[in-house]
Symmetry: C2
Subunit: 250 residues, 2 copies
DNA sequence: CTCCCCAATAATGTATACAGTAGGTATCCA
DNA sequence: TGGATACCTACTGTATACATTATTGGGGAG
């Protein structure tokens, strides 16, 4: 009720979309559960029209699924869906790295990436890494991936990568957090940093195939790590958006 | 006015979406042009609410672009966007082929693909190929790609490939039509058929890397061919034709 | 003559009212 | 007592009315 007149700068549709996404990701709405428009109207504090717009957008985003008889439900994902989504994004980012390398990148455009890596360097060498440093790392890592994607200068590819990252567990931050549940987390961060450095080097030297190969390997390693994390159920609570994983039938 | 009560089985939203997509693809609405909701309401014969829903869906589909000040415009694509979109889809289909090979496919699941190839065989060997045979080929080729995608059994990947194929020029039918404008069209069809046969073989023998590599090469070849076609100034004839072609939804 | 500002108009974003349908519950009959 | 049917409720899909914002055109000032 305090939020009713908060942030008048954003449209009602966006506000509804954010509110609903929050509810889904926080687990307030369980997978398979039907979304109640009326309830959404109350929580978002807007009328049905923008709520319905938000529902359509969230469906296209992949968080919701249309029910044939009408309405929407929260989409449920299998563990394999999650692993596939990560490999998918890795493949696309590999293509982005190739494009960047083949098309040439000016030293000035490469500067932010290198700066990003340097900032990360100081963080990953701490052992054990502090909570603040870790969240700083997560943000910087996401920034690195975004910058790399941009370097492809291919709007269709960038768009597709954004879509592939929409699912929380498929986003860069998502799987960094997932891997952090593993005992070898510290070493994983160092390896990731190496990968990133190689990619930047390959792009700088215009070696498209090498840039792509290392990004794909990077993703495949992440998939292997996450598969391990998923198998170790005790660490599952550290996974982002665990609410979206389909629970076994009761 | 005859369409007002036609097809009561589909929702008004879907009807509006189809009508608008038709208008865009047929060129009745030019790229960059702002969409008039009022006009859309008239042509679709429905009220503003389903029209706006359709607009949001078409934006997510990639055919429209939101205008910051409000409303939507028809999205404009550069030639490079078109080429990138094709390579993008090829990359995704390569991953699909890899998944299919690595995860194993039963002989029964592979049957429809082989049948598809056999049906195509008879068509591509005709020289010159008749108009009817060509459109039959286009349909069968699209079917082959759809079946191959399905074989990955990865819902996230399938979804992403569908999205990548939403743009008419990036769809299998789209670039077959584009390449058909080249003088070596006949030979291109034969090469494509070879590629497809190799992919099926690789999947059957569970050679993931080979299956992926050949699909990517297939796409890169198509990109090269289309770049030639665009450079030869045949694109003035090509683009309108491309706009008319879309892969069947199913 | 040109540039800027204000006002009128049109179109978007939002809210609400209406209609049709699916699902649930209660009652009645076997 | 169990099952089927009919009614009722609640929710979705659609239409329309309202408000707010952008755009355009004209008029006035420099």
């Amino acid at each position: 009720m305090a939020e009713r007149d908060a942030d008048r700068s954003v449209s009602q549709t966006v506000r509804a979309q954010l509110a609903l996404r929050d509810q889904i990701l926080s687990g307030a709405l369980r997978p398979g559960e039907r979304i109640s428009e009326l309830q959404a109207v109350e929580t978002a504090g807007v009328s049905r029209t923008p709520v319905r717009m938000a529902l359509v957008r969230l469906e296209e985003e992949g968080l919701l699924e249309a029910i044939p008889s009408g309405g929407f439900m929260v989409k449920a994902f299998s563990e394999r869906d999650i692993l596939d989504s990560i490999e998918l994004r890795g493949t696309l980012e590999g293509l982005a790295a190739r494009f960047a390398a083949e098309r040439g990148v000016s030293a000035r455009d490469l500067e932010p990436l290198k700066e990003c890596l340097n900032e990360i360097d100081g963080l990953v060498r701490q052992s054990p890494i502090s909570v603040d440093a870790f969240s700083a790392y997560v943000a910087l890592n996401a920034r690195f991936h975004a910058l790399l994607t941009e370097l492809s200068r291919s709007p269709p590819l960038i768009r597709q990568i954004d879509r592939a990252s929409a699912l929380p567990f498929a986003s860069p931050s998502g799987f960094v957090m997932a891997q952090s549940a593993l005992p070898e987390a510290q070493q994983i961060l160092l390896i990731a940093q190496d990968h990133h450095r190689i990619v930047v080097d390959a792009i700088e030297n215009r070696e498209g195939s090498r840039a792509e190969a290392i990004m794909r390997e990077h993703a495949r390693l992440a998939v292997r790590n996450l598969r391990l994390a998923l198998r170790n159920r005790t660490h599952l609570d550290l996974l982002p958006a665990l609410a979206l994983i389909r629970t076994p039938e009761v």
